[in-house]
């Protein structure tokens, strides 16, 4: 029994991204495709997402021309491929506050956003440090903070402090403090709705970029290797990887990094006319496939 349908929706991609940015220590070992994706969770009368991508009006041209990001399409088009409209999304979990994960909040006018309070409060603290600490502000867009003010005024921003269970039925938020960012979090979907779930999925944001972060280079002798970029602690990233894998009963294929191109090798998927991939992780009972 599945309570939710789960899809990974690609909205842009970098065709050739250095592996060293994704997997700690992989210097001078070539590139791979880096898709940009958000997650759709549909079922139990709910429509939710994990992250919302970036604001093309603000960043699209620079990202396309300077950083090789290709193929960005707006949420109404990306979500339209599975019959969903952005205005129908009611709940959005922001794993962390980098512009490519929370930059597009204005395209979801009816959603309530969940974000760790620490992600905001540590930003503010960081911003009060002298200029020589500005590396700590990487990936932050001031305009996103402005938009977050509006969300909060409209009572559509929920600042979470630590873990929270059953934000929606069977959906839990887990703090991963001082990892990729100060207040990162990951989202667990217990798809059988059981407290001691046998069907858990983890949506990890940038706590892992690829499967190698979760199993190392040799699947027969697994190890955790952290991502290539962390504002905070690689140690905490490794320990969080253990938590995430354990929460799926040890099945790393159920820990879903939204930047992992090879999800297509594990789950059914299709390419849209715009050249973007939709990967179908699970179907709620009675839901039709969107990829076959």
């Amino acid at each position: 029994m599945n309570a939710y349908s789960l899809w990974v929706m690609e909205f842009a991609a970098v065709p050739n991204y250095p592996q060293s940015g994704l997997i700690y220590g992989m210097h001078n070992q070539g590139t791979r495709k880096l898709p940009y994706c958000y997650i759709v969770i549909k079922g139990q009368g709910q429509l939710a997402m994990v992250d919302v991508g970036y604001n093309h009006k603000a960043h699209g041209e620079v990202l396309a021309n300077t950083f090789g990001v290709r193929g960005w399409r707006p949420p109404h088009e990306v979500l339209g491929e599975i019959g969903i409209r952005p205005e129908d999304v009611g709940t959005i979990f922001i794993t962390h506050a980098h512009f490519d994960h929370m930059g597009n909040i204005e395209d979801f006018p009816n959603a309530t956003f969940y974000l760790q309070e620490r992600e905001l409060s540590k930003w503010v603290w960081t911003m009060s440090l002298p200029r020589r600490f500005r590396w700590l502000m990487l990936g932050i867009d001031t305009a996103d903070i402005m938009r977050a003010v509006d969300l909060a005024r409209q009572k559509r921003l929920v600042c979470v402090e630590g873990d929270r269970q059953n934000v929606l039925p069977g959906i839990d938020l887990h703090a991963a403090f001082d990892t990729h960012t100060w207040g990162s979090m990951y989202v667990t979907v217990r798809n059988d709705l059981a407290a001691n779930s046998q069907s858990s999925w983890v949506f990890c944001g940038d706590l892992a970029y690829t499967q190698e972060n979760l199993r190392g280079h040799d699947p027969h002798d697994p190890e955790y290797i952290p991502v290539g970029l962390a504002t905070c602690s690689q140690f905490n990233l490794v320990m969080t990887a253990e938590e995430m894998v354990k929460s799926t009963g040890g099945d790393i294929t159920r820990v879903v990094p939204p930047h992992e191109e090879r999800l297509k090798d594990l789950f059914p998927s299709r390419i849209t006319k715009a050249g973007l991939r939709i990967t179908e992780l699970a179907l709620a009972d009675g839901d039709p496939s969107q990829v076959r």
Binding site: Y17, T66, L120, V124, M137, A143
Partner: protein, 143 residues
């Protein structure tokens, strides 16, 4: 294909001299916006004596000094005008902070100021709204 504009020497000098001012104003805007999010979301961290505010006032003073010293060329006039309007609006936002963080009173001039900064960034090369180079996607492709 990207078109790269070649600036004259005086304008290039202006760009280099005013980058810091731009960055400082952006930082002040970010500090204020961050505090407003916390205030609007009901965080206990959002207090009018938050250390970020003292830092914001110091940085704002430095940005204003730099603005006064700037020597914009004809090519840079538009940029300079946006920067000056940004400083005025952000200064107004800072001055609205009293015994409490009144989100609505501060947000209006703050947003106006940040919009001016965005226009400034769009009107001359060399001014980044986000430090992409240091972001997750920061892999610069060959031009």
């Amino acid at each position: 294909m990207t078109t790269i504009e070649v600036l004259d020497d005086a304008t290039a000098r202006y760009v280099l001299e005013s980058q810091r001012c731009f960055e400082d104003l952006k930082q002040v805007a970010s500090q204020l916006a961050g505090l407003l999010v916390l205030a609007a979301a009901g965080s206990k961290e959002a207090l009018p004596d938050h250390p970020a505010l003292e830092s914001a006032r110091d940085i704002f003073r430095e940005a204003n000094d730099a603005l006064r010293r700037a020597r914009p060329t004809a090519r840079a006039q538009k940029h300079y005008a946006h920067l000056a309007r940004a400083a005025a609006a952000i200064g107004t936002a800072l001055s609205q902070i009293g015994g409490a963080l009144d989100v609505d009173r501060i947000l209006i001039p703050l947003r106006a100021g940040y919009t001016e900064l965005e226009h400034a960034a769009d009107s001359l090369p060399g001014f980044e709204k986000v430090a992409y180079e240091r972001a997750c996607c920061g892999f610069r492709i060959a031009q």
